[in-house]
């Protein structure tokens, strides 16, 4: 069993700040680069139009009005209006285009992470609360939304104005320009200090968010237990704790984040003061009054984009904490993948061979299965019996390649299952798992989950075989009755019947039943068994059951204990051996006799 993460426990944090995240982020931008360039062009046009404004005002105040030239004033107003109209259309275009680029990137990223999730093995899902996986696919990615749409565009447009302004400043007076750069190093140090602290703060915050999400998810999933044990108050207390941690971390993070702005603002004003001082006292510069005033004006133009870039920088650092988590998920190894030269498994005849198979979940973990070897010929039914936790379910999980064997090999029709595509392998296996999962949707949808193009008649036929037809017809909308996730409105037995029908509908070549009928009443079970026997002809099947009655007719029975096959043979031979199976049978028989 792999090491598990719980809602109370933080996930590990990456220590190094990794610039490659941005490179990877850039990859998502690539398909939209052309559109982005068009948007940039529109911004450039809009910026020029907007820059015209103050100039036109200046002309009006400097010449048109003092000269009492109403005609020129009208002309200026007319030109002004034209620039506004240009800006208007640019803005219209930009709002749409930028949102689309941002949303497209988010969609691509979400899609990548979801697709990747589909390839991850059971162990990934088993080793952390589901709320923590969920938050990565939706919430974390949404936090990038602002950064990718407005943030990116503003950054570029700010960079442009910054450069333009700098050029102008140099043009007017290069010495004053150098003076206005004097304080920049302090700003860089300030930004660097904040970056380091902010990054860590947001990493911690993303963890706390994840914990909170995990706790909420689990609380909802386990609400019946909480209510059943009257533990609502305790749950509320725990929730308050997780929630409080989140709030505290949040406040800590924003306190750091918000500190950048006052720094920039103060350095800006000090720079202005410095220019006044230097200019007025003529320290190393000789400027006219007009130049000084104009220069001061440009300094404001210079700092506005710097402040904006500072804000962008802030959100970039924030986003990094989430990007890390997203890329971490994308980098998670699928473990169970098609081999590079994998081929599709041809239709299975049903010859199954385990050659000295051993299995453990992790490197240093305990052995779950040890040297299991057996051979099932096509059409045989194999029964696995033994105490719970002995490894019966593991045997069948390996057969579907939900886990890779640690040692040995599994052959189907003489082909090692590691050499074939997962899809071709699993598509031919009908696995009825211990816990039956019901999707939200109609009963019809649930039964045909494995074979989406099945007709209603096929679905009903499958339901009839497993004796589910009867109860389904009695439901409000029959086969079209809507079920909720996990089918909470059905009884456990009914869920098993639906899952059973689902398994049969795909017409599997190998059928695997893991305690498939435990919650089903005897009468229904017997009927089901009869229907099943007819279906099983010619198919290899594996059955795990505790009630020996259901497996007496199996062609081979394996008694599994502590990960090993301790006995094997048909019912008759095993009974004759007077071993573990005989004891099991004897005990059950005596128990029944004593009833």
């Amino acid at each position: 069993m792999a090491k598990r993460n719980t809602y109370q426990e933080d996930e590990t944090l990456e220590q190094e700040f990794n610039w490659s995240y941005y490179k990877r982020l850039g990859k998502y931008l690539k398909p939209y680069l052309r559109r982005l360039l068009v948007v940039l062009a529109s911004i450039l046009v809009a910026n020029i139009a907007v820059i015209m404004g103050p100039y036109l005002t200046k002309v009006a105040i400097d010449s048109a009005i003092p000269n009492r030239d109403m005609g020129q004033l009208w002309l200026i107003a007319g030109i002004f209006l034209v620039t506004l109209i240009i800006a208007f259309f640019c803005m219209r275009y930009r709002i749409w285009a930028i949102t689309e680029i941002g949303q497209d990137m988010l969609r691509d990223m979400r899609s990548d992470i979801f697709n990747h999730l589909q390839e991850l093995p059971f162990s990934y899902f088993d080793s952390r609360p589901h709320g923590k996986i969920l938050i990565r696919v939706v919430n974390y990615i949404n936090t990038l939304s602002d950064l990718l749409s407005n943030g990116l565009i503003n950054l570029i447009s700010d960079l442009i104005s910054l450069i333009v302004t700098l050029v102008f400043m140099f043009f007017i007076d290069w010495k004053l320009t150098l003076y206005s750069m004097v304080l920049l190093p302090i700003l860089f140090i300030w930004a660097w200090v904040i970056k380091n602290k902010q990054r860590v703060a947001y990493q911690v915050l993303s963890n706390k968010q994840s914990n909170l999400n995990a706790y909420i998810h689990e609380s909802i999933a386990g609400i019946k237990v909480t209510q059943g044990f009257a533990q609502e108050d305790n749950a509320a207390k725990r929730f308050a704790d997780v929630s409080e941690e989140y709030r505290t971390t949040w406040m800590h993070a924003v306190k750091i984040q918000f500190a950048l702005w006052p720094g920039v603002q103060n350095i800006a004003i000090m720079t202005t003061a410095l220019i006044y001082f230097v200019g007025v006292n003529r320290i190393g510069v000789a400027v006219t009054t007009g130049t000084l005033i104009a220069f001061i004006g440009y300094i404001n133009n210079f700092w506005n984009p710097v402040i904006n870039i500072g804000n962008f920088y802030n959100s970039l650092i924030t986003a990094t904490a989430y990007l890390e988590r997203i890329f971490e998920t994308l980098d998670e190894k699928p473990e169970i993948e098609d081999a590079p030269d994998a081929f599709a498994l041809p239709p299975i005849k049903g010859d199954v061979r385990f050659n000295d198979v051993s299995f453990k979940y992790e490197e240093n973990g305990p052995m779950i299965l040890q040297h299991v070897s057996f051979h099932a010929t096509p059409g045989q039914s194999i029964a696995l019996v033994g105490p719970t936790g002995a490894g019966k379910s593991t045997v069948i999980n390996l057969l579907s390649r939900f886990y890779n064997v640690t040692d040995g090999e599994i052959l189907i029709d003489g082909v090692n299952i590691n050499q074939v595509t997962l899809k071709s392998l699993r598509q031919q296996m009908g696995v009825m798992l211990q816990d039956t999962f019901i999707f939200s949707g109609t009963i019809l949808d649930n039964i045909r989950y494995g074979k989406l193009d099945a007709t209603e008649e096929e679905v009903i036929a499958a339901a009839k075989v497993v004796r589910a037809d009867d109860f389904i017809r009695h439901l409000k909308d029959g086969y079209h009755t809507e079920l909720q996730e996990r089918g909470s409105t059905l009884s456990a037995g009914q869920r098993q019947l639906i899952a059973f029908a689902r398994t049969l509908l795909i017409d599997p070549r190998i059928l695997i039943l893991d305690e498939a009928t435990a919650a089903i009443d005897t009468q229904t079970e017997i009927l089901l068994q009869q229907g099943l026997n007819a279906l099983l002809k010619g198919r290899t099947s594996f059955i795990i059951a505790h009630r020996l009655s259901t497996i007496q007719n199996a062609d081979q029975i394996f008694v599994i204990d502590h990960g090993e096959i301790v006995e094997r043979g048909s019912h008759a031979t095993l009974m004759a051996e007077h071993g573990a199976y005989y004891d099991l049978y004897d005990a059950q028989y005596k128990m029944l006799q004593s009833m």
Partner: protein, 582 residues
Amino acid sequence: MNPYQWIWRYARRYKGKMWLAAILIIGNSLGIIVVPLLGGAIIDQVINQGHTERLPWMLAVMIGTTLVRTLMRYTYQILCERVGQNTLYDVRKDLFNKLQSLDFNFFNTVRTGDIMARMTGDMDAIRHFVSWVSYQVIECVLWFFTAVVVMSTISWPLMLALVAVTPLIGILTIKMSQAAHPVFFQIRQSFSRLNSMVEENISGNRVVKAFTQEPYEIQKFDKLNDDYKQRNMASAAVSRRYLPVLDFLASILTVIALLLGGYFVITKQMTLGDLVAFNGFLWMLNQPMRMSGWLINDMQRFSAATIKIRQMLGAKSQIPVNNADHYEKIHGTVEFRHVNFEYADDPTQPVLHDINFQVAPGQTMGILGETGSGKSTLMNLITRFYDPTSGEVLIDGKNAKDYPVRQLRDQVTIVMQDQFLFSDTIKDNINYGNRQADPGFIHAMADVADAEDFITDMPAGYDTVVGERGVGLSGGQKQRISLTRALVKDPAILILDDTTSALDMETEAKIQKELRRITADKTTFIIATRISSIRQADQIIVLQHGRIIERGTHDELLAKHGYYFDTYQKQLGALGVAPGEE
């Protein structure tokens, strides 16, 4: 109540902080005005008039003002953020507590992912509103009125001419609000659907893989993912329609000021200096106008997000949680009198029909019946997960409805068919219902449930962390941990709903023997499909289609040659051959 009044009921608890923030906002605004004025003074007095000796202190005031102003702004930003977080904390707490009190009917109809969306994404829209939008709105309003006042002292006709545009802006923002609201609601709904789908995919990952339906899942996801994008684009469409117009109108103020102001100057109704000063304050007027559209968007996002949250907060539980002043000890007599039950969404289909029985403290009742015959529902009526449609469930002679529900459940424990374990250590799972449980007692109960051995065999023993829902454990192990958990609670009434189905018969027999010993003074209900599980019960009922069709002890029922006898025969007959006879 509108969304703003609603959120105010939460936020007003932090009025003190908000007042302080408001004062600081005003302080900051004054500071913003001071700096340009000082700049003007430097140009006039220092540069033009040559009072260079004044420069150092003027610069000092400039720097000092900015320092104070930025600190003020930083402080109120943090204050607003704090108020936002506090508000969020309270809303979230209320919602969580509400969820804890809602009944099964609610959870049967609402998807987990939907609730998750409310607790995460929707909450964030609220936070953004309280901690950011609120003070932006205040700032804007403040700018606007300051500008109006200052400008009217310079030239009130010019000011009036500019303000004349505001009704137009007002109309536009109202229209935009109306257009944006449904769009944002759609975004929230789409987000919720996406969330639900992913949540279900993660929960059902085993089935997805077993049936190799990854492509189908991806297809489902792509559809929702794209829908979410489209909904966001719909919002962009609204923005595209209104925001540029608002921006245009705001900018046109400059043109009007220039044209009309220029005319006033030319006709000598105003000096050029006044016009320059007037122009200097123009941004205070058009900035709020420019912002209005963006703020409307944020406000509508907030308003749309509150809808579902408030709906959930207002959901009525049919089984209200009332608090009791005193704790009533339950002895364990359970009586059903003419109990009928139907699910609210399907009243035509009786689930239980005219159920009558009585069980005395210390007795055990066995329940047998077909899949879906109403066995679990019957038990859910005792723990009041549902209330009967008609008839009465009496516990110690008192109607179950008259007990405070949590007090009742504290003494009636049910081991449910689908065992839910929390992702936590085995120990914390076991003492879930009784955190003060003595370790000795825990071990003793684990022994009874035959769980002690396999737990101590695990690498970390009782400290082993199990996955959510107990993934990684076998069905039988989960059942035994769940049973231990119920036993550690030490309830007066114990209900076992098919608790041993995944165990082999030997283990089951062992557990039953131990159970009988420790439940001697408890009322016990056992639902089972195997006769062996219930045959020693003091009374047994057989359910079929929601009715009791047979009742009695094991021997009495066998003598009846009915359903029970049939089942018995079949279970017995299945292993008809004695060992050694073949």
